[in-house]
């Protein structure tokens, strides 16, 4: 399972790649964060296996000055067995099974060329199933595995929901910090690429969404493979209200117009909160009712517009159709 990292995670990882023993206090000072925030993020990165902190040996420093990449062709029926036997040899640093002309590619280090020759003749040649090998002597290494920096594009999606993200949301405006903290506890943040569907019309509705970044079009099937845009929602606006209204079935398809990050709130948890806290209940349900009412008003204007042959002025919100990826055939 992929665990997205944000820009702060990426910077913490970069500092630790330079010095794996750097104290949290130092990292916090370098990034302008609280020590607790760094500790919490590091705990998450370590526990979910995103990073491991380990000791890297420099082979040259301990007398292993010869490095080789050895490519091996094997009987495919013995592929795993051969790979495991090679991996167990002390000279071998890494073993990978690969596609292409060579079935196994390994990295190994030796004190000198003579040791490399002995390794090939005495150890590799004796492994049953190996057909052929090719050895490349490494002359100079410019970048090591430990030098790999996490690409920036992998780090743009935020992963933690801050209270201010919810405070500005139309659905939750007016709630206290404690109430927001309760909602944050059950909510999750997800990023979708342009064109991705968040939910599809007629699916069961279990979550309500708030747009954090990006824009989402709400589409309705109009038959013959066509869809009509019923509206679009942007930053801080909510959608997916059928998750709070019986029969809990989506009446629209939500499709991202651009790369979009949403905060998803499971409505089972939200309902529990509503039944325990009247202010939250009224605030949320009033907003949901208001959103549906506003959609009804738009739909009625649109209906009148069509019935009167365009005589009635249509509110600008309905007229505005944001471009969708070419994959979508959109009509209105």
């Amino acid at each position: 399972m992929a665990h997205p990292v944000d820009e702060i995670d990426r910077r913490i990882i970069a500092l630790l790649q330079a010095d794996g023993r750097r104290p949290n206090v130092d990292i916090a000072a370098a990034l302008g964060l609280a020590e607790g925030a760094v500790r919490k993020r590091l705990g998450r990165l370590l526990s979910q296996g995103t990073i491991r902190i380990t000791a890297l040996v420099d082979p040259a420093q301990v007398g292993y000055r010869t490095e080789a990449v050895i490519m091996v062709q094997v009987d495919l029926s013995r592929l795993e067995e051969v790979a495991r036997r090679l991996a167990s040899l002390p000279e071998v640093q890494s073993v990978a099974i690969a596609t292409g002309n060579w079935d196994i590619i390994l990295n190994a280090v030796f004190p000198d060329d003579h040791s490399l020759l002995c390794f090939l003749q005495d150890k590799v040649a004796g492994i049953p199933g190996i057909r052929r090998t090719e050895t490349s002597h490494i002359l100079k290494r410019l970048k090591h595995i430990g030098d790999w920096e996490l690409p920036l594009q992998a780090a743009v999606a935020p992963t933690e929901i801050a209270p201010e993200m919810l405070r500005q949301a139309d659905l939750l405006s007016g709630l206290t910090d404690d109430e927001l903290a309760y909602i944050i506890h059950m909510a999750s943040m997800r990023t979708y690429e342009a064109g991705a569907r968040i939910f599809v019309e007629n699916e069961e509705a279990r979550e309500i969404y708030i747009v954090h970044q990006g824009r989402v079009a709400l589409l309705v099937d109009i038959g013959q493979g066509r869809q009509a845009v019923m509206g679009t929602v942007g930053r801080h606006e909510s959608f997916g209200w059928p998750a709070l209204v019986p029969p809990f079935i989506h009446c629209e398809t939500a499709r991202c117009v651009e790369r979009t990050t949403v905060i998803a709130i499971p409505t089972a948890g939200l309902r529990e909160l509503c039944l325990a806290n009247c202010t939250v209940c009224y605030t949320i349900m009033e907003k949901v009712t208001s959103v549906i009412s506003s959609r009804l008003k738009d739909a009625r204007f649109q209906l009148i517009h069509m019935l009167t042959g365009g005589e009635q002025r249509i509110p600008p919100a309905i007229m505005q159709i944001n471009p969708l990826p070419a994959a979508d055939k959109v009509t209105i």
Binding site: V220, I222, G223, A228, M230, W241, P242, L244, V245, P246, C251, R271, C274, L275, A276, N277, C278, T279, C281, Y282, M285, E286, V288, T289, S290, I292, S293, R295, L296, K297, A299, R300, F301, Q302, L303, I304, M306, L307, T308, E311, Q312, R313, T331
Partner: protein, 150 residues
């Protein structure tokens, strides 16, 4: 004060206990409208929420030039005038009695106060209201789709 039996006819109050209905009964009142008379007009302040007990009400929207178009009709047991519960509490349509119509009217402000005292009542009423509006939305969209296929 109206009887609980009248309140039980309203889909808006479906799921409420007798105790909860008794609270609403104290602030609800019955009104009768003759055919052709307006219950309320578009753009007025929305104060009351209505439930049809008998008869039928047309929901009309101004289309300019002093003309109106009917977008819906409301029959027995159904709710209208929900702008009283939805900000900015301004009526988005007019309601006109099609025939002699008896309605229950409930002050939105009173209902709001009940909602802040009883979370379950709040949830049930608001969920029923959202359901009512969403059914109207679905119907309107179906009409739109059938026109698009024209």
């Amino acid at each position: 004060m109206v009887s609980l039996d009248l309140l039980r006819q309203a889909s808006l109050f479906e799921g409420l206990s007798d105790d909860q209905l008794a609270h609403i009964a104290k602030v609800a009142r019955e009104e009768t409208f003759e055919p052709g008379t307006f219950v309320f007009k578009e753009n007025e302040e929305a104060k009351d929420l209505y439930v049809v007990l008998e008869g039928r009400v047309a929901i009309l929207i101004d289309i300019g030039g002093g003309r109106q178009t009917m977008v819906d009709t409301v029959a027995r047991g159904e709710t209208f005038g929900w702008s009283a519960m939805v900000p900015p509490h301004i009526l988005t349509a007019s309601a006109k009695a099609v025939e002699r119509t008896r309605v229950l009217s409930i002050a939105g402000k009173e209902l709001h106060n009940f909602c802040l005292e009883d979370c379950r009542m709040c949830y049930v009423i608001m969920e029923n209201l959202a359901k009512t509006i969403s059914i109207r939305l679905k119907d309107t969209r179906l009409q739109l789709i059938s026109l698009l296929h024209g």
